[in-house]
């Protein structure tokens, strides 16, 4: 049965994968390359958060600590270590994972709003450390002039750097996809849906959550590192709570528990910010805020989630595509449960009905 489902979802899945890869490859031809790189970085960051929010059921409001922390670490390695940028990015990702270990250890015992608050508090602590530690971080001026070299090759042109940074983003997305599809990922989903039962079955729930937290942080760190090298600086902005909020918003816009939805959310938000910057309109927050409200009220599954839901209802449901067990396709099982961490049960049923 599993084989047949793989084969069935495989054809559509492969087609989507090819489209996604093509989109990633031609993006800097379509839009301004530095903006394309921003989208790629935020897409990975959103996927990393979705790993935690969508597949483990934990809403972290402190992921800026890993994105921004890695940005500083990557920058320092590239700036003072004279290392080529891939080493710096890996160093940054490792730093983010190390940072996530104690933070996660202390936070994963909590869930829901308490988990969100504790992670937010830790992220704000990191922010204040970076703000005060001026000799290392440059304070509010940020860490400026991070080099972007690879074995003597100057990658200053953002068009070329996009292709230099893209492999990291794709590798990160692939890792997230593999994690979700692995037996480990299945356990995470079961913990999300019913932690008491998972515990009763003998799974050490907290340890699973911690590992998911650390993996998510490492992927966020990878994204933050590419972002820092791409822009040539790391700033306090990356550590501020608004960064955590922005990535949560991207995931919700794209669709919680869809993994790829985050990429769409990232594309929408980054493009919107870029467009509004020169649109001559003074209320940027009003526009992004209104779009967010509309999506949350009308499309609870997010852009990708809604699209997939409609496609399933039209094409695949007669063939029994959605008839299988929830463990087979976590994204599908996600829809009713997804708004739970943020919204509450009434929304979930409403979403299911429409």
């Amino acid at each position: 049965m599993i084989m047949s489902r793989l084969a069935r979802s495989g054809r559509g899945g492969i087609a989507l994968l090819v489209i996604g890869l093509l989109a990633a490859l031609v993006l800097p031809w379509l839009i301004y390359p530095p903006v394309a790189l921003d989208i790629a970085c935020w897409a990975l960051f959103a996927a990393a958060l979705d790993l935690l929010l969508g597949f483990t059921g934990l809403l972290s409001f402190g992921h800026a600590a890993f994105w921004g922390g890695s940005a500083y670490c990557t920058g320092l390695i590239a700036l003072h270590g004279g290392m080529p940028f891939p080493v710096a990015i890996l160093g940054g990702a490792a730093f983010a994972a190390l940072l996530a270990l104690p933070i996660g250890f202390l936070s994963v015992r909590l869930t829901g709003i308490y988990f969100a608050m504790v992670t937010l508090a830790f992220a704000q602590m990191i922010y204040f450390v970076a703000n005060q530690w001026r000799d290392v971080t440059g304070g509010e001026n940020g860490l400026q002039g991070i080099p972007r070299e690879l074995f003597g090759l100057d990658l200053y042109d953002p068009f070329f750097f996009y292709y230099a940074g893209l492999p990291f983003v794709l590798a990160g997305l692939l890792a997230a996809w593999r994690i979700v599809r692995s037996p480990f990922g299945r356990v995470l989903v079961s913990i999300r849906d019913n932690p008491a039962r998972a515990r009763a079955l003998g799974y050490p729930v907290d340890r699973y959550r911690l590992l998911a937290f650390v993996l998510s942080a490492a992927l966020s760190g990878t994204a933050g590192g590419v972002f820092a090298i791409g822009h040539g600086f790391a700033s306090l902005d990356g550590l501020y709570w608004t960064t955590s909020g922005q990535v949560v918003m991207m995931v919700i816009l794209g669709g919680i528990g869809t993994l790829w939805g985050g990429a769409i959310g990232a594309g929408v938000v980054v493009q919107l910010q870029d467009f509004l910057a020169t649109a001559g309109f003074e209320g940027i927050g009003i526009v992004t805020g209104s779009i967010f409200i509309v999506i949350v009220l009308l499309f609870r599954r997010g852009i990708w989630g809604t699209a997939r839901h409609l496609a399933r209802r039209r094409g695949l449901s007669p063939a029994g595509g959605s008839g299988g067990g929830p463990a087979g396709s976590p994204g599908l099982a996600r829809a009713p449960a997804s708004p739970r961490p943020a919204g509450g049960p009434p929304g979930a049923t409403a979403g299911e009905r429409c």
């Binding site: 301004y32 530095p34 903006v35 921003d38 703000n131 005060q132 001026r134 440059g138 304070g139 509010e140 001026n141 940020g142 400026q144 002039g145 200053y156 953002p158 972002f227 822009h231 040539g232 600086f233 700033s235 306090l236 902005d237 910010q273 870029d274 509004l276 910057a277 020169t278 001559g280 003074e282 209320g283 940027i284 927050g285």
Partner: protein, 412 residues
Amino acid sequence: MRITGWSGGLAVAGLLLAGCGGGPGGGGKISDGGVVLAVLNDQSGIYADTSGRLTIEAVRMAVEDYRARYGDKAVAQKIDVVAADHQNKPEIANSKAQELYDREHADVILDVPTSSAALAVATVARNKKKVFIDVGAASTELEGKSCNKYTFHYGYNSYMLAHGTGSEVTKDGGTSWYIVYPDYAFGQDMERTFSAAIKAAGGAVVESDPTPFPNDNFSTFLLKAPGLDPKPQVLGTMHAGGDLVNLVKQYNEYKLRDKGVQLALGLLALSDIHSLGPDALAGTRYTTMWTWSMDDQTRAWADKFQARNGKRPTSNMAANYSAALQYLEAVQRAGTDNSDKVVEQLEGHTFEDMFVRNGTIRAQDHLLLHDAYLSQVKPSSEVKEPWDYEKVIRTIPAAEAFQPQPDPACKL
């Protein structure tokens, strides 16, 4: 305001068409068919009032004045003004600056408040070899560690603000100080300069306290002030924006002025006085780079500005006008908009205009040295017309107003 913005745009467009029809003039040496001035600043956030969209209008006024002055002899016949909102985010400033230089063919970027954003744009300017004249940011790092051949710092910086207020108010007899400053790079730098200036002028700092940033309750610090030993005569503060508004309101609530503690500020914008009301700040001394009511020349320009925009200009807007005008003058002298040639013309240039008095652009670090002013807020009884809140007490000569020596960390 939107309507005036449109009509302003139409006027510029009309002038552009006229300029194109005007024949070859000095053409040929101008890249991409024209000179493009780009304003990159905050149009939706905390600096939207001090800088924002009216700054773009100020830059347009500079373009018109340049045209009026040179007419057919103008080297730059076709001049465009473009703008972008960086939302105070350094990464948006970074990509927008690249886009402005690459896609809009901007020859110069102006304004850019927020230090981290300004420093990011300075790096872009260095890499693209294009001119960047920063007005809005206060960080001295722009002419220090992060200086480069194509970056200029125009108008004010944290040294000017702190040194001016610190030494001038001490000379006027306010010799014992209590300092509160926001605990981040800008505040820390200002506190250092402030203390040094006070001591050099013969005063003493009783105590100096960092406050969290951002912060909305300053009662701990304000209540403590009158009880310090010896009692400070002046409360010096380095806060800006919303924090300053909160601090000033509480300063008045606790009636510190009646208790003999004067208020002295580093940075104060006309728009801040307007929103707080002059009585909340009456008697407060601060350092400024320009005031619209300073003399006849500034008044004439402010009248023109008000006729267009319905408001009096802040010093930041005037500084951007001047920066745009001096850039165009440099293009005129160089006969081209080639960055290296224009930089050559700007370096060491000595000049005066509506905004700048006794100005020199120091060749070693690209910092504009010019007269600054110790000013005081008038009580409402002395305010004779709308927006007339400021009184210049004394001119601080250009040689004293800014860092006397270039930062050795700056290598152009």
